[in-house]
Symmetry: C2
Subunit: 412 residues, 2 copies
Amino acid sequence: MAYLNVVRVDEALEELYHRFKDFEAKSERVPLHQALHRCVSENLYATENLPSFRRSMIDGYAIIASDSYGASEQSPMILNVIGQVEMGKSPVQKVTSGVCIYVHTGGEVPDGADAMIMIEHTELMGDDVALYTTVTFGENIVGIGDDVSKGALIIKKGTRLKPQHAGILASLGYGEINVTKKIKVAVLSTGDELVDISASPIYGQVRDCNTMIIRQILEASGAEVVLESRVGDHLDDLMNAITEAMSAADIVLLSGGSSAGTKDLTQTAIDSFPNHASTQNVFIHGLAIKPGKPTIIGQVDDKAIIGLPGHPAACFTVMKALVEPFIHQISGTADKKIARIPCEAQFQLHAAGGRDVYQLVDVHFEDGKFKADILYGKSGMVSALSEANAYIVIPMNHEGVKKGDQLLAYHL
Amino acid sequence: MAYLNVVRVDEALEELYHRFKDFEAKSERVPLHQALHRCVSENLYATENLPSFRRSMIDGYAIIASDSYGASEQSPMILNVIGQVEMGKSPVQKVTSGVCIYVHTGGEVPDGADAMIMIEHTELMGDDVALYTTVTFGENIVGIGDDVSKGALIIKKGTRLKPQHAGILASLGYGEINVTKKIKVAVLSTGDELVDISASPIYGQVRDCNTMIIRQILEASGAEVVLESRVGDHLDDLMNAITEAMSAADIVLLSGGSSAGTKDLTQTAIDSFPNHASTQNVFIHGLAIKPGKPTIIGQVDDKAIIGLPGHPAACFTVMKALVEPFIHQISGTADKKIARIPCEAQFQLHAAGGRDVYQLVDVHFEDGKFKADILYGKSGMVSALSEANAYIVIPMNHEGVKKGDQLLAYHL
């Protein structure tokens, strides 16, 4: 397999976006309470004002502010209490000068009133109330539309819903919303040395851990694994499996063994499908990242077929660096996520000429700052992966990392 | 309702932990592929060595390292190729001095060999191969147990499983694992002004947004909402609802209206249940946080009953500051989470004497660093909540925040 033309990850993503720009993620309508972590597929606007009535922020009396002017502990102003507003009901009386109406927190401020005075600053005496302080126009009242104005954009298309979004959607009556359907992904694992997780490997065999890593990353990125199967190292079997996968999924991931033979087979299989363009189906034969170089990217009909590297850490890296952003892009996810954490390198690491280096790290808080420890481990190892909670990227042609350098690590 | 004894959040949590320390979260067995975000309920150990055989890191020849000593482009060493190791099978031949065996990446290194030489540094000539470089003892071989030693602790009890953990568990054959059962929570909303999300409120009514906020936070923290209902502002109804909730859930949350009347009713209801201790059921009558002061915490039998504040932002704050950590504690979650992000304040904010201040912020990356903008909004507002992606805490008696201060914001 030729590694003559390794491609930068950003270039590979550009090419993928370009080729699949017409992919339109379908949307579906779900109840709001099932929308956590789902991606909103349309701009959501305020269909009404919030609050929809003048709302009291306190327990107290609705008054005309000027009726309180000059009131103090020494010289209270006296108003006549003509009633109270029941919770959940509209006021039936109006406030005029000289009178007031009791309103609970959250209740509607009656017409005529232009301020609320806290009950703590008053004293009830029979049908009258003494005001011991001055309140200003509008005090303790939330006006109509003060929180959200009718027509305002409240949630942008592409937002992945978090708990904090639920409140505004519920307040505006969004009992159901349109979200992007999950992108469907098929995962085919190849390699004669691989056996099931539940199997007891004999010498030379290993359990298929990559499929599980891939599945968990896909699910965490909001995609759905619609098909998962193991295929032997034979061209016909592989092509049949890819054909079946393409009929079920939007994206087909091939999780290969680590040997050159398996990689060759993957490329041959993808390129053996009929081609409607002038180029070969496989359009990227290697990525300029470490680990993760032996990655193959192709297109058959309108499906993306990606051959992932066999080493677990390399497979993980390519999933995070390439597949996850690709899924987010075609599903229209536009997250306002705080994905990175500033931290201080506790290690030294050389750059690799011509390749972006992805390094797993453990970020922890110590002495008032975040520090990143390197997690050593050859790329075939799964232990470093399990201990990591973040990774850093050293761009190609960068000088590397020195102990004490300030880094931006990506959360895992 | 008396606010004489507001309690610090850390004290409230201590008291909750103390009272419910005997709560034992049950565990259940789930397939590994369903364990994402679930909490492992036992220490998991390596049941075998990884790799379980000497594994080649490259495509090349298994040799005795000393056979390559002195080899160079100018003066290659010649070895006889006696065979190759098939993927997924144990080698059938041994390497002795003067001979070598071809092995794929990931394949098993045959007995006798103590190094692998990359195919790129060799040239095949009939049955012989020329070595053009010297390799050292152990080069390009991952030894038995080099990745994970049999018996090693690989995942600590309490870990919430992330994609990166899947690899090691799959590699070790953990097809199923024991995870903590989800903590069951009932959410009762009270307040005559509240109507369903799908309803069209008339004047004075508001849609019940808090229940939805609470539900989403609970689900994101790994709990399960087993019951959700709306109760009118009547003592008997509320007590009946609490009784039903206690039979279904581990924790009962009361999401009240904002008025003092609703709060009084909540406290009265909790205290009206029979009490087996010398104190009242309600043991905390207010929290020293802003927003969030009107929080009530009680215990009836072996259930925690928490009355949340009615203002959406206050409700949200108490969920994040109190309920979420409580759920994590009793469910045994011990996350190694990077929950905070260092950022620079773009605002000024005064501390509140005697109360921890929780302030919603928008953290964004700009000019090479993270900056936090304040999201203004009275505590009844849901728009600030929706725009926030983090919050900061100003501890009571702290001097407040000045523009340019370095902060640690908590992710939302």
